[in-house]
């Protein structure tokens, strides 16, 4: 494995709370420069999505520091904020959430390109769509005219429009049919290598962490209970909760 030393995302001793209720307790995680994937595995209420929200700057930390490329999220200057928005992009469970239903795919992607000062003509939009495995003429359509898988691909194209270095993926395939899910995972794998991307992948699905991530961390009730290389965590789990999670994955009854 290649040596990754640059810390693209550094979450250090972070505690997050909604009001007085602490939901993430003294968590530290790092994601190096890509191509690299860190999987954050947990179930409902574990705090995994709260960490994603904080890393996206949507929730202030109660204590600790979240830094992207050396910039402390709590103290961004104006130009740093612009830079941070370009470097870090989210992909959520359902593409519908990030696409304006009134805008065509072209308009949505152009908006994302303009925000970071990139040229936004038709060719650039077409290239983005082709990159995520869609036909260029999809740009004329509105979100409701797309299937769930196509919408998720458009959401990924929109995230790529800023030429990010880190994608925060929150259950990016959970809403998709299994055959569609397999193709979207192929796409993430391709993009990771081609664009040297880093992923922070938030999921309850161990198998997709196995596919996309070099390292894995398991979170339960707001605390990281186990972390290591994906091979170690999934192949030789130490913590009882990790063992239970692994035992619960439905397996094909192949003989």
């Amino acid at each position: 494995m290649t040596q990754h030393d640059a810390r693209l995302l550094a979450i250090t001793n972070v505690t997050l709370a909604y009001g007085k209720r602490v939901v993430v307790d003294d968590v530290s995680l790092t994601v190096p420069t890509g191509p690299f994937g860190l999987g954050l595995i947990g179930e409902s209420g574990s705090g995994k999505t709260t960490i994603a929200r904080a890393a996206l700057g949507l929730l202030p930390v109660k204590s600790g520091v979240i830094a992207v490329d050396g910039m402390n999220l709590a103290r961004l200057s104006r130009s740093e904020r612009r830079n941070y928005r370009r470097i870090v992009q989210p992909v959520f469970q359902d593409g519908t959430e990030v696409l304006d239903p009134r805008m065509t795919v072209r308009a949505s992607l152009q908006e994302a390109l303009r925000v970071v000062g990139r040229p936004a003509h038709g060719d650039v939009v077409a290239d983005l769509l082709v990159d995520v495995g869609l036909r260029a003429d999809v740009m004329k359509l509105h979100p409701h005219q797309l299937s769930g898988g196509q919408r998720q691909r458009v959401a990924i194209a929109r995230a790529l429009a800023t030429e990010p270095r880190l994608l925060i993926l929150d259950e990016p395939t959970s809403a998709l049919d299994v055959t569609v899910q397999a193709r979207v995972l192929d796409l993430f794998e391709k993009l990771r290598e081609e664009r040297q991307l880093s992923f922070l992948l938030i999921t309850h699905n161990l198998a997709i962490v196995d596919r996309l991530c070099d390292e894995a961390a398991v979170i339960s009730a707001g605390k990281i209970v186990e972390r290591g290389t994906t091979a170690d965590v999934l192949g030789d789990p130490r913590h009882a909760y990790t063992k239970k999670l692994i035992a619960s994955v439905p397996r094909l009854a192949v003989s």
Binding site: E43, S44, G148, D177, V178, T179, V180, Q181, A182, L185, H204, N205, L206, A207, I208, D210, R211, T230, A231, L234, G235, K244, L245, I246, A247, S248, V249, P250, R251, L252, A253, V254, S255
Partner: protein, 258 residues
Amino acid sequence: MSAALLTAHNLSVSYGERRVSFVPDLSVGPGECVAIVGESGSGKTSALLALLGLQPGARVTGTVSMFGSPDVLSDRSRLTSFLGSRVALVSQSPISALNPTMRLGRFSELVLRKHDRSKQQAREQIAEALSAVSLDQDILRRYPHQVSGGQAQRFSIAIALALGVELIVADEPTSALDVTVQAEIVELLSAVRRDRGMGLLIVSHDIALVSGLADRIIVMKDGEVIEAGETHQMINNPATDYARELIGAVPQLGGRTS
């Protein structure tokens, strides 16, 4: 072999001119589990609901026999009388199947009293069913919003047990649940089937999940049955490209770790 609890021949569900689901053959016997597997829009849930007469607005044709009654689709009152007494539906979102304004105790008591139990019988049968699904009796004091998804799903299975049904029809019974809870519900369904000879008809998008539970699998796509057969045979040696794709698409552990 004992008589089937449920059989269907040429079950067709249409809206206007458009046929959304067609199942040529389906049969579930006591202690058997049959799974209908497919992706969004495959027609799997339409078929399931049509079997129970719960597909209002649709034109349903074909022959469905249930518990020895030969043609329940043309005898609606008979079909309705089976619902809750001999067959129960377990849905994907168990919390929304409960009444939000009622404590679970009152809700379950009303359901059982509607099925001709005395107050005393209702209470006893519910208490017994709760322990069968490993739920604490305290849950009866709670409202639906105060229980977890897994608890609500156990509770809806408990109601089916208290009612003494012979067949459970389940629409994606674990899709809304966390993976560890999902495994527990599968274990519970499997125990209910083994210990009580319950028939199970399950609709799911997850072929891996049902492969550990079902005797037979019916694979549907775009409203048609693509392949049907013994689970073991299908998983190890699928006959169609689509079944192969569905099986191949299951995210499995061990790609990197093995």
